[in-house]
């Protein structure tokens, strides 16, 4: 049992989602604690958006237990909505509204849910400053650039000072500068607003940079769960050693690179050249994991499906 059990914000167990005969999600289980920043990482089509939409209460699951802020999102009510913020992949709404009109208006709906600990909504000027849209306050939403539009979407997502924020591919189409500013804002939200953040992304670098913990979704399940560092060690305890000897290149995978290199020098001395020792990066881990799940299901359920298919 986790010491922080009382602080579980999202609790998912045995989550299944079936479309026709295909299980998109096949027993997803994970937990998110208050204040954590979690990246749900996976290749396109792995079911990230489906998972997030179930948690957002926008999609009804086929089976399994789901609790978000202590409530089943499938039967959630409006007071639950007030505690959750949502930023989707792409919004094109309200193009004829002015930025400040829209943020001011949408904030109104949260006012009845304001508490001493969480003043709702965030004051308009503060919000504009937070997302860097202060000088665009009077602009029409439809005239914003792509990056500004995403920042507006984020502002709308957090206008009610949510306890839990969902983000789906938040920085798709950002330039490096905008991406960095966005990441800073995420950190500020998590640190100062005590916002728990769950973001879906297929961008590994983003997950590594932003998240306290990464969940890799592959083959309809959580294939790995841990910090970037833990994940890198989990699968790839091995390091790759490359060297050249008499003009020939050699590659060797080993668990103890130091001992191997020591032996290499003891045997060949100065003849060894171009030495390179490379520990598996998170990217290698990720690619290996996705590859494993996409080429053949390593679990028993997969074998059963295979057996049924080959039967006449």
């Amino acid at each position: 049992m986790d010491a922080r059990d009382g602080d579980v914000v999202v609790d998912v167990d045995g989550l299944r989602m079936r479309y026709g005969h295909k299980d998109v999600l096949d027993g997803v289980a994970f937990r998110v604690h208050r204040g954590e920043v979690i990246a749900l990482l996976g290749p396109n089509g792995a079911g990230k958006t489906t998972t997030i939409e179930i948690l957002e209460g926008f999609r009804v699951r086929s089976a399994g237990e789901v609790s978000v802020l202590g409530v089943d999102p499938a039967v959630s009510r409006e007071d639950w909505r007030a505690r959750v913020g949502i930023v989707l992949q792409s919004w094109r709404d309200h193009t004829r509204w002015r930025v400040k009109d829209l943020l001011g208006h949408l904030g109104r709906y949260y006012a009845p849910y304001s508490t001493a600990a969480r003043a709702r909504p965030i004051a308009l000027d503060d919000l504009l400053a937070m997302v860097g849209l202060a000088e665009h306050a009077d602009q029409m939403v439809g005239k914003l650039s792509g990056g500004e539009r995403r920042r507006l979407d984020l502002a709308i997502g957090i206008v009610g000072r949510p306890e839990l924020l969902f983000l789906d591919e938040p920085t798709a189409g950002f330039d490096p500068h905008a991406r960095r500013e966005f990441h800073d804002l995420m950190h500020r939200l998590a640190d100062f607003e005590e916002t728990t953040i769950l973001l879906a992304t297929h961008d590994l670098a983003e997950a590594e940079k932003l998240a306290d913990r990464i969940l890799i979704l592959a083959g309809g399940r959580i294939a790995a769960d841990g910090s970037a560092d833990q994940l890198a060690r989990q699968v790839a305890a091995q390091a790759e050693v490359r060297w050249s000897l008499d003009g020939e290149i050699f590659v060797h995978a080993t668990e103890d690179a130091t001992a191997f290199v020591r032996k290499l020098f003891a045997e060949h001395g100065e003849a060894v050249g171009d030495l390179e020792v490379r520990r598996a990066s998170l990217e290698d881990t990720y690619m290996a994991m996705v590859h494993k799940f996409e080429t053949g299901r390593p679990d028993a359920a997969g074998a059963v499906v295979q057996f049924e298919r080959s039967a006449p």
């Binding site: 958006t49 489906t50 939409e53 957002e56 926008f58 999609r59 409006e78 007071d79 909505r81 007030a82 949502i86 989707l88 992949q89 792409s90 919004w91 094109r92 709404d93 309200h94 193009t95 004829r96 509204w97 009109d101 208006h105 949408l106 109104r108 709906y109 949260y110 006012a111 009845p112 849910y113 709308i156 009610g160 789906d168």
Partner: protein, 283 residues
């Protein structure tokens, strides 16, 4: 005050902001004015023609009928189109992500439809005062009745527009489903020429729908002396309020569950799918 009641208030504010945006956006306002001007030109050419068997000018009969017709179109096609468009662009989904956001959304849409209808009505009336001198002598009770019947007409048509907008897959679908039936009904509802010239069974069909009774009601309000030209030679208030109210009640009963069912199915990926489909359509 409960959160839901505050959302209703926010909806009024939203309707106000959307109306302001509407007056600022030149293209939509232009279309509305353009249509009104077209009707004004029609009235101009009809100002000297006289309805057969009476001494009414054709313009004086057509003007109120047009008022009724525009409100019916605005209520049905307008509501259906806006809902379909705002499902496609994600406005509706946005409302769903906000606590009681749908309440505010629906309230604002009702206000917005009323405002756009009022703009058209006012422009046509302004033209009417120039070409239909009889209008000037309409008593205040006539104007009051006009406003009342137009409001009832919106209630009789708008929920049905919302239902159509909830059921179709795209804005084009909303247009396709409303345009032809509405055009056909307009043609047989005695808007541009007296319904009594049509076959009896056609008259019966027309009298089942709000658009006829809206035109009829406008004539009753603005031309109280001209009842001889109507079917049965009377204003038949009972039938008029009866048919309009029946459509309003049925629509108001049916629309909420259908709207709710549609809203339940809205999600990010649903909006995305529709966007992809739209991209393919536009190429």
């Amino acid at each position: 005050m409960t959160a839901a009641r505050r959302a209703v208030r926010a909806g009024f504010a939203r309707g106000w902001i959307e109306s302001r945006n509407y007056f600022r956006s030149h293209d939509e306002l232009f279309w509305n004015i353009f249509l009104a001007v077209v009707f004004a030109v029609v009235l101009f050419f009809q100002r000297n023609s006289v309805v057969e068997g009476t001494n009414q000018s054709l313009a004086s009969v057509v003007l109120p009928s047009i008022l009724g017709m525009t409100v019916a179109w605005g209520g049905l096609s307008g509501a259906a189109g806006i809902l379909a468009i705002e499902r496609e662009d994600g406005t509706l989904l946005r409302a769903k992500t906000i606590p009681h956001g749908m309440v505010g959304y629906v309230v604002a849409k009702v206000i917005m439809t009323a405002v756009t209808s009022a703009v058209t009505v006012i422009i046509i009336l302004a033209a009417g005062l120039l070409f239909v001198p009889e209008l000037v002598s309409t008593p205040w009770t006539g104007w009051l009745m006009m406003v009342g019947i137009l409001a009832l007409g919106l209630l009789a048509t708008m929920p049905w527009g919302a239902i159509i907008g909830s059921l179709v897959k795209s804005p084009q679908g909303a247009f396709g489903l409303t345009f032809l039936p509405m055009a056909a009904l307009t043609a047989i509802s005695g808007i541009f020429y007296p319904i009594t010239a049509l076959a009896g069974w056609v008259q019966s069909i027309a009298q089942l729908f709000p658009i006829y009774w809206l035109g009829h009601g406008m004539r009753a309000a603005l031309l109280p002396e001209a009842e001889a030209a109507e079917i049965g030679g009377s204003w038949r208030y009972l039938e008029m309020f009866g048919v309009l109210s029946a459509w309003a009640v049925a629509g108001l009963l049916l629309a909420p569950p259908i709207l709710r069912r549609m809203a339940r199915r809205e999600s990010g990926s649903a909006v995305e799918e529709r966007r992809d489909a739209a991209m393919k359509r536009y190429g």
